[in-house]
């Protein structure tokens, strides 16, 4: 682990940049922390969901009468219990959600669109009774031909998932019924002419499988409702305020009646930015007049919750002999799952963002298939896009016999360059990351037989959005900081470090809390790599407001004007006529709170712009067994610009975690469906995410090019690390075997096939 300060940030930090033990660590390692499924209320019922056994079918009749008569059954809910709502827009990041679709994904209405789609739900005294009752619900299905692949969805005679729904976006759009829900396109310069002038051109199709976020904790919720219409929701989520608004819209409820308390969260990675169980549990609780708990099994998580899109991307890249890019052309096909809304838009904006390409064009299609509806997953869409472009770059590097980092350096964007998505870049650290990777010992480590080294890069925007924070001082001089962002990546530690830095007290004297929707000010969800940046800014502001109070209290104690009090190194220091007073520590002032005006507390809220682009460069050394096609990752390095690492261990943890997920996506993870569209591997045994022994220690270099938009220079770091690995690993495998691979995951049989095809 090393740290490269490429910046001119002159602020000297005392606490920022240190590595204290996280405040939530003890409870988590001892099992005391309460996750979504840990809450139990008196009189609580257990809920279970009946799920479709078909990937594509019309629901002709649904009869719950037998199930209702089963022992212990207190309530049953179907789509008939949900209010009918119209289509419309609902902001949900790049995966734009239509509330009607959101509701129909939670409970199928008229049609089931994937195997595992919820059809009915039962609340009963025990979970066994609820499950038994599910078996007694009779559903008459008209089974339709499933559309499982992009090719099937685009075929001329393809069965249509959403009859009567028209494609939207940039013309030309398909006419009549289609599985294409949206088309995006953009172009700059004269692409065709530029390709004619290129010295070397590569082109090909690059395929990636649908991949699940794989959070360890399944979705879980407990709901209680009251006669006055109020609903209390406890759940595992990345955004309690998002849950509140999504439950309100799907049930057409007054949001004022809903209170959402986030539990500890065992991973989300974007997958817990939407809802599945909560509205169902509200309806069951209303009908049964009892609290209801619902917990998904791992199988339900795989069959019915959001993975990210599988993609087919055709890319063409042209270059001059000296290595300068002249033109790029791309067609991206994204699986949206059963409903519209893949991250194709974000993919199209990130695709060319790391390089200066004078002429480019892209087309992107959002395509529905009978697979689970996709949800956000770490830098949604960007890994798929980067897989295509960064592989094409590697192919060019080989053809030109240029070092792959040098080729990227020649074309990399820097401050002042125009981003492919439009605006000019402010300070960014891509060049610094490329140089750090090039200078790292791993880049010079000798490779043995059957070994290959891959290079890949990635870009993500990192967002800002709304946050609020409250800091209060206890009479012993300790502090509490409250925000509304569930802590998925160590953000409690970052918030506490920020308060400690501003107030000048030890970080152990700050207790960071995550509140519910009624006890803290509004916070957008934990996602988009935004919490340490945006919520951190709210915490800085709130801390500064507290300092104003502290100065005023010191002035009261000393009987001087507040202007004569400065806050310096955690102390009130007298100046201008008050300098003969002995400085007062925070503890001294806190002791006298009651005498000087009562409790000291301050809040702040922000809605800052996006956090400044995060660039990363990865290196992967792989050995391939030429007789079996099996890959072993020997060494892996993540270099990324963090702006400023507030708690370096958790920055490194984000780097390593994103790399681990990307390596799994590249080598092992894939959705397997049988001919009827039933997922064959809905568990961690056969949906092969990497385990610890599959990975080497992932080395990290934290580059720090400060973000001018943040007082400490912080950039978001959580998402960029999953952007480069698909291509990085793929490039390593391709170089190890001497054959270019174009399909993920690069499983042993696929790699062995490639080796044998080369041999002829």
């Amino acid at each position: 682990m090393s740290n490269q300060n490429g910046s001119g940030s002159d602020r000297k930090f005392k606490v920022v940049g240190t590595r204290p033990i996280r405040h939530d660590g003890l409870d988590k390692v001892t099992g005391r922390a309460n996750y979504g499924a840990d809450l139990a209320l008196p009189g609580m019922l257990q809920g279970a969901i009946l799920r479709s056994p078909h990937a594509h079918a019309r629901i002709k009749k649904l009869d719950v009468s037998k199930a209702l008569a089963m022992p212990g059954v207190k309530a049953i809910v179907t789509s008939a219990d949900f209010p009918e709502i119209g289509s419309g827009g609902m902001a949900a990041g790049e995966s734009h959600i239509d509330p009607k679709d959101l509701q129909a994904n939670i409970m199928a209405r008229g049609k089931v669109l994937y195997h595992g789609h919820a059809v009915a739900a039962v609340a009963a005294s025990t979970i066994e009774q609820a499950r038994e009752a599910c078996k007694m619900i009779t559903v008459d299905y008209e089974v339709l031909k499933p559309v499982m692949t992009l090719a099937q969805a685009l075929a001329k005679d393809a069965p249509i998932l959403h009859e009567g729904r028209k494609a939207v976006g940039v013309p030309p759009l398909p006419e009549g019924d289609t599985n294409i829900m949206m088309r995006l396109a953009n172009a700059k310069g004269d692409v065709d002419a530029a390709f004619k002038g290129a010295d070397v051109v590569v082109e090909g199709w690059y395929e990636a499988s649908m991949a699940h976020q794989g959070y360890i904790e399944p979705h879980a919720t407990v709901v209680t409702t009251r006669e006055n219409g109020q609903a209390e929701i406890w759940c595992s989520t990345q955004g309690p305020f998002a849950v509140k608004s999504m439950v309100a819209v799907t049930l057409q409820m007054d949001p004022n009646l809903i209170r959402v308390t986030p539990s500890e969260i065992g991973g989300g990675f974007g997958g817990k930015t939407t809802i599945y169980l909560e509205p169902v549990a509200v309806l069951l609780s209303r009908k049964a007049r009892r609290p209801v708990k619902m917990v998904m099994s791992r199988e339900e998580v795989f069959r019915a919750t959001g993975p990210t899109s599988g993609t087919r991307i055709w890319a063409k890249l042209g270059v001059k002999k000296d290595g300068s890019f002249v033109a790029a052309d791309t067609r991206m096909e994204f699986e949206a799952g059963g409903f519209a809304g893949s991250p194709m838009g974000a993919a199209s904006m990130t695709l060319y963002a790391a390089y200066n390409i004078p002429n480019f064009r892209f087309e992107g299609l959002d395509i529905v298939v009978n697979r689970p509806k996709v949800a956000a997953y770490r830098a949604p869409g960007a890994p798929n896009a980067a897989y295509a472009l960064e592989t094409a770059i590697d192919e060019l590097a080989q053809k030109l016999a240029i070092d792959p980092i040098d080729l990227r350096l020649k074309n990399a964007v820097k401050e002042g360059d125009v981003a492919s998505y439009g605006p000019k870049y402010d300070r960014i650290g891509f060049i610094e990351c490329l140089q750090a990777a090039k200078n790292h010992p791993q880049y010079k480590a000798p490779l043995g037989k059957n070994q290959g080294r891959g290079v890949g890069a990635g870009f993500w925007f990192n967002v800002g959005l709304q946050s609020s924070a409250t800091v209060s001082i206890n009479d012993d001089g300790s502090a509490v900081v409250r925000t509304g962002n569930p802590d998925i990546g160590g953000s409690r530690a970052s918030m506490a470090i920020t308060v400690a830095e501003e107030l000048g007290i030890p970080v152990e004297r700050v207790r960071p809390l995550v509140g519910d929707t009624d006890t803290v000010g509004y916070c957008d969800l934990t996602g988009g790599s935004r919490v340490t940046y945006a919520t951190g800014m709210a915490v800085i502001e709130a801390s500064k407001n507290v300092i104003e109070h502290l100065r005023a209290r010191a002035a009261t104690i000393w009987g001087c004007e507040v202007d004569a009090v400065e806050w310096r190194d955690g102390q009130a220091v007298g100046t201008n006529g008050a300098s003969n007073n002995k400085p007062l520590s925070l503890a001294d002032i806190a002791k006298q709170m009651a005498h000087t005006g009562g409790p000291i507390i301050a809040s702040a809220s922000v809605n800052p712009p996006a956090a400044g682009p995060g660039f990363g460069v990865h290196l992967c050394d792989i050995e391939v067994d030429p007789e079996t096609g099996r890959s072993t990752v020997l060494r892996y390095l993540v270099v990324q610009d963090a702006g400023k690492a507030v708690h370096p261990s958790y920055v490194e943890g984000q780097f390593q975690g994103g790399a681990a997920q990307g390596i799994g996506w590249a080598l092992w993870e894939e959705y397997l469906f049988d001919k009827d569209g039933k997922m064959e591997n809905p568990g961690f045994l056969d949906y092969r995410m990497p385990v610890a022994s599959d990975l080497p220690m992932i080395d990290t270099v934290v580059v720090e090019v400060p973000n001018p938009l943040h007082p400490y220079g912080v950039r978001g770091v959580g998402e960029t690390p999953i952007v480069p690995p698909l291509a990085t690993v793929g490039n390593a495998v391709s170089r190890a075997i001497g054959v270019r691979m174009h399909q993920l995951p690069m499983t042993p049989p696929r790699v062995l096939d490639a080796i044998e095809t080369k041999k002829g």
């Binding site: 902001a91 990041g93 940039v170 989300g268 838009g345 904006m349 949604p380």
Partner: protein
């Protein structure tokens, strides 16, 4: 006059790569755009707005300089 740069679908609707407009704030700019290009009506709501390189999630009342360059981008959020 602020410069507005269009890409993708917006460019198709406007029929130009960029235009210049007098507007003090983004909200005034959007109103002026809707007035001049009725086909744009409603299409700029919820957009991420880049003003001189900085991406604003909600730019409605952001002030514009006569030299400002504005881009309307698809909303971004992330996982």
């Amino acid at each position: 006059m602020a410069k507005v740069v269009f890409t993708g679908g917006l460019r198709t609707l406007v029929g130009a790569e960029s235009i210049e407009l007098e507007a003090a704030r983004v909200v005034d700019l959007v109103a002026a755009l809707y007035a001049r290009y009725p086909a744009l009506e409603g299409k700029l709501e919820g957009a991420t707005v880049a003003i001189d390189g900085t991406l604003h999630h909600d730019a409605r009342y952001q002030r514009l300089l006569p030299t400002s360059e504005v881009h309307f981008l698809a909303p971004i959020a992330g996982g």
